[in-house]
């Protein structure tokens, strides 16, 4: 990389040194991120030792979280996380795919950019403001309209037992759905826009309508990318803290009903941090560890799926 240009170059003797110093500095700092991850994870495991030793594997299936008796189990929160993210995905995915379809295939060109931007703006709103809004705008709607409706229609199932209070897993799920829509929609949109025009032309040329073209040529072609987008959204939902904390009702027990208050792994930590000591603190950290591992696995899976799709797609893209 060092060329032997003439001595008219000033600072030539410094060049090797400068290059090396720079490269090593940069590399050193980059190593910092690696070191950081390791350091922090190790530290967390260390702090969770107390709880790990006490409860072992049973921690994951223990349904009791009782500071008074110093007994802790993560099941209620794994459960709560699963239920809220389940609702989020159930509501969020169809809406997101609809949005992605509109943005990719149907929107007039002058609208595409601004509209995409506005959808992405949904992701910029801080979680705590979502929570604040949910408290005063979403909750009344849930209590007065939505939850009674579901209760009357599906109250015979274990999912909708109990009285609608408003601060429960259902509400938390809905606010989560709103929050993951920008993620799923924009990645799905990119996946759909990456489908080559030749595919759309193929469908149109055998007499497909716009909708049919989207269905057989675009959505199927992009399906692994769209799937990856959904998993990405799922990953976001798993780790989301504030909006969930503010809407889920803070109840540390397992309950099948969506209308009952609950707790996710993230909201548990947020709600209990201040006073926790000793074994409880250690248990909280262990819950954090479990959350971390789950989020890691989900996100890794998502990235693999999206990565694989993007590498299969030819360089030409764009929508008709």
């Amino acid at each position: 990389m060092a060329s032997s240009k003439g001595s008219r170059l000033r600072g030539k003797p410094l060049r090797f040194g400068g290059d090396r110093i720079f490269e090593y500095t940069v590399m050193g700092v980059a190593t910092l991120t690696l070191a950081l991850v390791w350091l922090l994870v190790v530290r967390m495991v260390f702090d969770a030792q107390l709880s790990i030793e006490r409860f072992g594997f049973g921690f994951l299936i223990g349904g009791d979280w009782d500071p008074n008796r110093d007994v802790y189990g993560a099941l209620p929160f794994i459960f709560g996380t699963l239920m809220t993210t389940g609702i989020a995905v159930l509501i969020g995915v169809p809406l997101s795919i609809g949005i992605a379809t509109y943005l990719s295939e149907l929107a007039p060109p002058w609208l595409k950019g601004p509209l995409s931007f506005v959808v992405e703006l949904l992701a910029a709103v801080p979680s705590v403001i979502y929570g604040l809004w949910a408290m005063y705008a979403l909750r009344p709607v849930m209590v007065d309209t939505v939850e009674p409706f579901f209760q009357s229609a599906l109250g015979w199932t274990p999912l909708f037992q109990g009285d609608p209070v408003g601060l429960d897993k259902f509400t938390a799920g809905i606010i989560l759905a709103i929050m993951i829509i920008p993620t799923i929609a924009s990645v799905s949109k990119e996946a759909m826009m990456a489908v080559p025009d030749s595919q759309r032309e193929a469908a149109l040329s055998i007499g497909a309508t716009r909708y049919e073209t989207t269905r057989i040529a675009v959505l199927t072609y992009a399906r692994s990318g769209i799937f990856g987008a959904c998993i990405l959204g799922l990953g976001r939902a798993v780790g989301e803290t504030m909006a969930v904390t503010m809407t889920i009702g803070n109840a540390n027990r397992v309950s099948w009903s969506l209308l009952d208050p609950g707790q996710t792994m993230a909201s548990l930590i947020a709600n209990n941090w201040g006073e926790a000591q000793g074994l409880q603190l250690s248990a909280l950290i262990e819950v954090g560890l479990v959350l971390f591992v789950i989020a890691l696995l989900v996100n890794a899976f998502a990235r693999i799926m999206v990565g694989r799709f993007m590498s299969r797609v030819p360089a030409t893209g764009g929508g008709l």
Partner: protein, 252 residues
Amino acid sequence: MDDKIVTKGLNAYFGDVHAVKGIDIRIPKNAITAIIGPSGCGKSTLIRCMNRMHEVVRGARVTGEVLLDGRDIYGSQMDPVLVRTKVGMVFQKPNPFPTMSIYDNVVAGMRLNGEKDWKRLDATVERSLKLAALWDEVKHQLDASGVSISGGQQQRLCIARALAVQPEALLLDEPCSALDPIATAKIEDLLFDLKDKYTIVIVTHNMQQAARVADFTAFMYMGELIEFGVTKKIFENPDKELTEKYITGRFG
């Protein structure tokens, strides 16, 4: 000889770019018509106007008439979806649906129309693949993915797919330019067999192909139709000097 497709004062635009300028052309029925000309002369745009594919591009516009058996396909009551089932198209790069099997690719059009009877579907698959000279090669692997076969085979699959919806005319936009000579020959052969039943228009930048295959040839230059006639005449004794220049390789 009847004319299958007739254009009257056809103009096509990409935004402000005037790609096809006032073309009147008569495509004879049950014959192969080739459209030749240098790159950028508008030949692809012209045939895309014949099955209303041109307007799919944003900002694209068409004025004038295109008559299919006497009816203007751009008439206010005409649905492009129906036009495209009557006039099929095969593209430059083979584009079978990768997520579908060979079987599913062929019957894609029929399925869109709600056809579920597997006996009829099976029959269509066999008929179309035979017409496309592909049946013998793939009949034992109809489940295989549409993209698992060679390029030449994929293109014939696309022809089968287009034929499965029983069009009256077939437009081919430089169908062999991405293929090797052997695959090209196979396709040229099958076109000969097809012309009894279908009206075929083929755009090609390869003059020898036009000479080999076409009954009639149209020469285009810079968006205008310069000359149209029986292939033999165009190549041996053209009326226009521009045509002669192109044929003898003086440009393009």
